[in-house]
Amino acid sequence: MDASAAKLIGAGIACIGMGGAGIGVGLIFGNYLSGALRNPAAAGAQFTNALIGAALAEGLGIFSLVVALLLLFVS
């Protein structure tokens, strides 16, 4: 296998990491929603915290995307 093929396969494998970020963001918003339906009065104040958590979880998925882009476009 030559190096460019290995690079393409590596980029594909790196993108699997984004699935983990998807699971994380889904868990955060799902749990936020189930909490919000139990106690709607407290939901508004916690929406910002949900967004912070989602942003932090999503950032880690973006790292794997950046690794994939580096493999594809940096020679």
């Binding site: 912070i52 999503e58 950032g59 973006i62 790292f63 950046v66």
Partner: protein
Amino acid sequence: MANDPIHQFRIHDIAGPWNIAGYEISFTNSALFMGITVATITGILFLASLRGALVPSRLQSIGELRDGLIDNMVKNVLGEEGKKFFPLVFSLFSFVLIANLLGMFPYFFTVTSHVVVTASLAVFVVLLVVVVGIAKHGLGWFKLFVPHGVPMAILPFISLIEIISFLSRPISLGLRLFGNMLAGHIVLKVFAGFVVSLTALGVGGILGAIAPMAMAVALTALEFLVAGLQAFVFAILTCVYLNDALHPSH
């Protein structure tokens, strides 16, 4: 290639390059759109505050809502003493928001889709945290890396983890914005490219192109959401990090 998804991010010179003191300096499309962003922010805020009516007009409402959103955020996260950081957080939020939204226009350049812009903003924020923390608490600020109530045996490891997590902040803050804008615009371009190559196939292709066309419209709506959300996230993470500078003890 006409529908190359990366082509939209290419930086090219508009004027120049000039040779100034041994450096090649040119006016690029990135610089042009940063200028347009700043002009738009200034223009909107100037027009919004032109007539301070008691019952706000639509434009004045835009200015007041944006101001109120950031004011609330700074007050909730930083408390009363964070008031003096309001101009900084408001400027960062406005710049990122308007740059993201301008990027949604066809043929416009997205300033925030370049890692050099977002990383500069992120490094600036984290350096500011260090400077403000040391100016306010002196060397006591480094207690941030030594949490209370941790047994002596594992304290070095915890401190190491805290230091690494602090050092990774500028990377994650900059890459988050960059990655979101880059990935969103690439996905939009890829779906638009499907439409173009399918319609070239004739009548059946045009019928088949309806699905990616609808997807491109839906993704455009999603991208507007992401543009606003990422600006908000950038501003609130700036507040959270500045909170460490003001109140370092856990």
